[in-house]
Amino acid sequence: MTVPYGAGQSRRQFLQRAAILAATVPTMGAFLAACSKEGPTSSGPTLTIAKPDSPVKWDIPADNPAIADGMAPEKGATLKIYNYADYLSPQAIKAFEDEHGCTVEVSTFNDGDEAITKLRSGVDFDIYNANYTEMSRLVTGGLLRPLNHSYIPNISNVWPTFTNPWYDQGWQFTVPYTIYTTGMGWRTDQVPADIGALKNPYESLWDPAYKDKTAILDDFHSAMALVLLKQGITDVNTSSADDLKMVGEQLTALVQATSPKVTITMYSDLPAGQIGLSQMWSGDIINAQSYLPEGVGTEILRYWFPTDGKGLVDNDMLVTLKGGKNPVLAHLFLNHMLDPDVAKENFSAIGYQPPQNTITADSLVEEEFIPENLRSAIVKPEYFDAGYRILELDADNDAAWHNVWNAFNAGGS
């Protein structure tokens, strides 16, 4: 993602946090099932966590109905969008402005907490770029406006899984925006070995041969999930104290072995040559192509994600906010972004793939949109069946994860 320094931080923070304090939601069964798996209950508030295997259909409060059908868009309005920096194509915005004679104003945030704090303060943004890990807080906190599907016919263009997602059954609040995987990126001139062909590619980050050349995502959950996956533990939301202790020890070993940079700017650091091997988001390696210095070809870039899809997969989405003054335009904008041509242009601007039916791995390579050597960075629908998802942790577990992460970041034991 072409975010200036710091901007993506927000994103990763967003990705991680999520879940659901929703004792009031009609999902008690799923909730109890989830709890029984979580071991002893925490002293904090009870959280319901929407999971792929325990989907949630949110209640729509009576005082917060969707808008009526067939309303005219607001005239001469300013549509306010709250988004990560550089995560929306200027061209897509311009086209929408021209079509509807309105002004689009994009405000950006750097951090998920910052965004939610601001949303709670009663700002009048119309559209927000959310992650499923925030759904419970957004819905339970009454920040979202339910969608009227009649304004969004373009939903038919997206992968079927996203028309009834587990985090928002019946897409009552959300439309999908981008999809990405978290894997390993490297450049062949600095790392001659074929990382993807290794038995355990994650392990290469612990290989002293790459000392001072590596990086991991500055996102506690993604980075610690990498350690878990490396150790063969696929519960990337574990609440096991032993697992977390092991992760802490592995991170200490990691610092000693390769002293990785902890950052989210690999999309520019890797092409600049500061990093040779890194944990990476698929969108960032696609983006990295445009950051390569002159004379360096894109053929040196590589990305690995398990071909069977058993890795970290993720998606962001667009939601409309209850406090927005232009609900009709907001619906139309969501529909606009789901248009195949707009979505594709947006993809080329931000590097993150939309889940559009017309965009397939083959078509992207054929049209030379993505070079053959980065084919592995293209997200496929089946990944969302096999992949692992980072979910919101309940309060106590979240604190336990963060304590391990902060200790690692402090460079201590």
Binding site: P45, D113, I116, S259, T263
Partner: protein, 301 residues
């Protein structure tokens, strides 16, 4: 002089002090109380954001004691605390050894060119700190100018990874970033040095070196202290120099710990606890400074 200044019309003095006191109350004490209320406050159960608790009787020390119990030698946060002291100390010494000669030269020796030199000294402030650091990122990256110069145009194969967790780079970055903040106060102090006093020392037979050591240096001790404090304090809380030039846990400082906990949901209180500790650690030298400057005034009178 000291005595006279303490006596006169107290009402006038109170009136003159009012804006300053108001400023301190509004922009220092009140925010400080907010930090305390957050350190000892609650966490919103739904959004995991900090909820300040205003009544000290209801304060919960959990977050503060969490931090406090982890900063002793051998604990997880100790290396970062130690690193902060070492880095800031080294950077301050480096700053002083660069800034003092420059300030001395400008104030004592550069007669005609003084105006120009002062303008040049202020020049770095025209460019944002962030921009200057980003420029270093460019220079120090693997195919950057520094490595290219070290390669002598390809004759040697030197590939130094400057930007992946090198303590030296962080210290140099801090020194580079904060040296202008040290030159200006030093210049201001040195410029005010009493010329007759220096002449007297020379008249009484001191040579240049001993006049410098026995008159100039003691006279500008408060100035040096002020300059060092002015640069030390922001350095203690600095995190972005580190983030830009290293971003490795190996060089994490207290500023980074604060930044990390602020961004972690529900841990804003821990960040506040670090802030309080840094504050405590800096208030002590501040008192010393105040004492020294008061004594300096007495010496002058």
């Amino acid at each position: 002089m000291l005595q006279r200044s303490r006596e006169p019309n107290t009402r006038l003095w109170a009136a003159l002090a009012a804006p300053g006191v108001g400023w301190l109350l509004l922009f220092f004490l009140a925010p400080l109380y907010v930090v305390l209320a957050i350190v000892f406050g609650r966490v919103d159960p739904l959004f995991r954001t900090a909820v300040p608790v205003w009544n000290p009787l209801e304060w919960n020390p959990a977050q503060f004691s969490y931090v406090l119990s982890r900063i002793a030698p051998g604990d997880v946060y100790f290396p970062a605390v130690l690193r902060t002291v070492v880095y800031v100390g080294a950077a301050s010494i480096l700053c002083l050894s660069i800034a003092f000669p420059v300030a001395y030269y400008v104030s004592r020796l550069a007669d005609k060119r003084k105006g120009l030199l002062i303008a040049l000294l202020i020049a770095p402030f025209w460019i944002s700190y962030m921009m200057r650091m980003l420029a270093w990122v460019n220079l120090l990256q693997n195919d950057g100018l520094v490595n290219r110069i070290l390669n002598f145009g390809g004759f040697l194969d030197v590939q130094v990874d400057w930007l992946t967790g090198q303590p030296l780079v962080v210290v140099l970055g801090l020194a580079y970033g904060y040296v202008p903040y040290m030159i200006l106060p030093l210049y201001a102090g040195l410029d005010r040095l009493s010329q007759p006093m220096l002449e007297a020392s020379r008249d009484l037979g001191a040579n240049r070196v001993s006049s410098f050591l026995r008159v100039t240096l003691p006279l500008c001790r408060p100035t040096i202290l002020a300059a060092v404090l002015l640069t030390c304090l922001p350095m203690l809380g600095d995190y972005f120099t580190n983030d830009l030039l290293s971003a490795s846990p190996k060089t994490a400082m207290v500023g980074n710990l604060i930044n990390d906990s602020v961004q972690a949901p529900g841990q804003t209180g821990q960040a506040g606890a670090f802030v309080m500790l840094v504050l405590l650690a800096t208030v002590l030298p501040m008192f010393y400074y105040v004492r020294v400057t008061l004594r300096g005034d007495e010496v002058r009178t």
